[in-house]
């Protein structure tokens, strides 16, 4: 794959990512302008009526006495310098607050994702194009998990494995076992969609001529599935990253709330209930940036899996 084509496609994706980010920032700014009432009071948040001095502080930080386009430029400039603003409710920098929750959330999300892949890959590979009992089980399992809200999956797991069987603690955060149920909650929320998409593309691949060739060379059914057909499910599965990453995000917020784990999810929910608008905007912008980054990485990985894509761009 020529280096130049990689650079071209990379810069195109980065440009699109920057547009998405800019759009998100602009959208949040536009929302702030649309909402009726004093923007300073809105940004200050909380349930108590702020004093005139406090409002003055907010106006100074956000340049609210200036014309709208200058406010907008100030907002952009601050973000470009990595300044996410201040939470007036917690009297701290938004960035500091987010940093305090990020690790716990990343560990949870990664554990959930890995578990989802570990379940989906065998489920899809073993049941593609067959009508065994396992396939029927997989069909029902996927439909049911897709229909269950992930917070309820979490509640059921707690009821069964913590309270009834006493296998996993849910309060002891320093105990690694306490990660099992939250990760399973996230994974079960993702498995249905992921394995359906993978199975469809494996089934399509199984009808291709090269599978017949492989079989005629005497390869076993297992090595045809795992060695040849499975590879073809990567790109369709990765293409749904958009919705998929959104589901991971929802899963994290919900799971942290169900299990009472500290992290970005609980910070966000608390920020919304206390009307801590700068903190909410910070969460949204950081997640959008993360989301854009993941999408770029996934797009780049296509070239590694399928050499044709890398050279044709």
């Amino acid at each position: 794959m020529p280096l130049q084509s990689i650079l071209v496609s990379l810069s195109r994706r980065v440009a699109l990512g920057v547009v998405v980010l800019w759009f998100t920032v602009t959208l949040t700014f536009a929302f702030l302008q649309i909402v009726p009432g004093d923007p300073a009071a809105l940004l200050f948040g909380g349930d108590e009526i702020p004093t005139e001095e406090q409002l003055e502080e907010v106006r100074r930080d956000w340049g609210l006495e200036r014309p709208v386009h200058e406010q907008y430029l100030l907002y952009i400039e601050r973000l470009v310098h990595g300044d996410l603003g201040r939470s007036y409710q917690q009297r701290t920098e938004v960035a500091t607050l987010l940093y305090s929750g990020v690790w716990s959330t990343v560990i949870l999300a990664v554990a959930g994702l890995v578990l989802a892949v570990v379940i989906s890959v065998p489920l899809a590979t073993l049941t593609a194009g067959s009508s065994t009992l396992l396939r029927r089980f997989a069909f029902v399992f996927e439909l049911v998990t897709i229909s269950m809200p992930s917070f309820w999956i979490g509640i059921i797991l707690i009821l069964v494995f913590s309270f009834t069987l006493n296998w996993f603690p849910i309060v002891a955060l320093d105990n690694p076992l306490s990660l099992v149920l939250p990760a399973a909650t996230i994974a079960l929320g993702l498995v249905g969609q992921l394995s359906q998409v993978m199975r469809e593309s494996i089934e399509r691949a199984l009808k291709e001529p090269f599978i017949l060739t492989a079989r005629s060379r005497g390869l076993s059914d297992g090595s045809v599935r795992w060695g040849h057909a499975l590879k073809h499910s990567y790109i369709p599965a990765a293409t749904i990253t958009g919705t998929f990453a959104g589901n991971v995000l929802t899963g994290v917020v919900v799971t942290e709330t169900v299990f009472g784990r500290p992290g970005l999810g609980t910070i966000t929910v608390a920020a919304i209930t206390t009307h801590d608008i700068p903190l909410v905007l910070g969460v949204v912008i950081v997640s959008a940036a993360f989301f854009v980054l993941v999408n770029i990485l996934v797009d780049l990985s296509y070239g590694l899996v399928d050499k044709r894509i890398g050279s044709s761009v």
């Binding site: 998405v20 998100t24 809105l42 897709i146 229909s147 309820w152 959104g246 909410v280 969460v283 949204v284």
Partner: protein
């Protein structure tokens, strides 16, 4: 040898599927009719008042008197679940209607508004679709506040891009059809052609998407409620019931079970009906 097996398996599955599916579809429709009756006549089905507090009857397990048990204030859970169905159904339909209206407007504008407008709207759409809808929902709730109506907006707005993209694609197909060309040729105005010919013909697949997104909206709505960002207490919304039950499920499992069954069965039924509509429509197409 093994290839034959695979082929047989595929044909078997195809011939076996319609039968199996139709049972599932009938069950789903029956369940949805039950839900509709609950929404229209909750008093006729509920055994108790959904809001009357009875401290003496707090946290009772399911019994002949209280079918689903009672919560920590002694309210009858079965009656609360029955009354809660109206919330889930309004969120499912309301958010979908918002998305449908927005999608039709933007999709028709893009499909019929000329090349420049089309490009502009669709790039805007791509960017919106690239954002997880939960982020949008959280911003809307943070700025507008909680409550049923704001929940509808928070979920509905995020669904608009999907509908806009589909409506536009359908409009482009219909637009090039002969009868539209003749209507334009007869001198009807653009608006008249769009309203009387293009939209009615483009709308079938859009309704399939709408059915499926009712299920998605119910899930999203119950999630927002569970996070206490949707309808507020004492509303018996199903997600909120689970959220209130969460703190006491160690002693009262029923509070964490029955509302979840209600949500899941409703979403499952809507999904099954939507998928069968989709299949039927696609078969008719080909």
């Amino acid at each position: 040898m093994s290839r034959d097996n695979t082929n047989n398996a595929v044909t078997n599955r195809l011939s076996a599927r319609p039968k199996r599916l139709s049972v599932a579809v009938i069950l789903s429709v029956v369940f949805l009719v039950l839900i509709a009756i609950q929404v229209l006549f909750p008093e006729a089905i509920a055994t108790h008042s959904p809001i009357t507090i009875d401290p003496l009857a707090a946290l009772q397990p399911p019994s002949r008197e209280h079918w689903f048990g009672t919560d920590n204030l002694g309210r009858d859970l079965f009656s609360r679940v029955v009354h809660g169905s109206a919330y889930s159904v309004s969120i499912g339909f309301g958010a979908t209607l918002i998305a449908l209206a927005g999608g039709i407007v933007f999709g028709a504008l893009a499909g019929f508004g000329g090349r420049w407008l089309d490009q502009a709207l669709m790039r805007f759409n791509d960017v919106l679709m690239a954002l997880p809808s939960i982020l949008l929902a959280l911003v809307v709730v943070a700025l507008l506040g909680t409550g049923l109506v704001n929940t509808l907006w928070a979920i509905g707005i995020g669904l608009i891009p999907q509908f806009a993209r589909l409506v536009r694609a359908e409009v482009l197909v219909v637009r090039n059809a002969g009868y539209v060309e003749s209507a334009v040729g007869f001198g009807f105005s653009k608006t008249a052609v769009v309203c009387r010919h293009v939209i009615p013909n483009a709308i079938h697949p859009v309704f399939v998407l709408a059915t499926i997104s009712i299920g998605g909206s119910i899930l999203a709505g119950s999630t927002l409620s569970f996070l206490k960002l949707g309808p507020q207490p004492p509303a018996p919304e199903w997600g909120l019931l689970l959220s209130e039950g969460r703190s006491v499920i160690e002693h009262a499992w029923w509070l964490g079970v029955f509302p979840g069954i209600a949500i899941s069965l409703t979403v499952l039924s809507v999904t099954v009906v939507g998928k069968s509509l989709q299949k039927r429509y696609l078969q008719k197409e080909s």
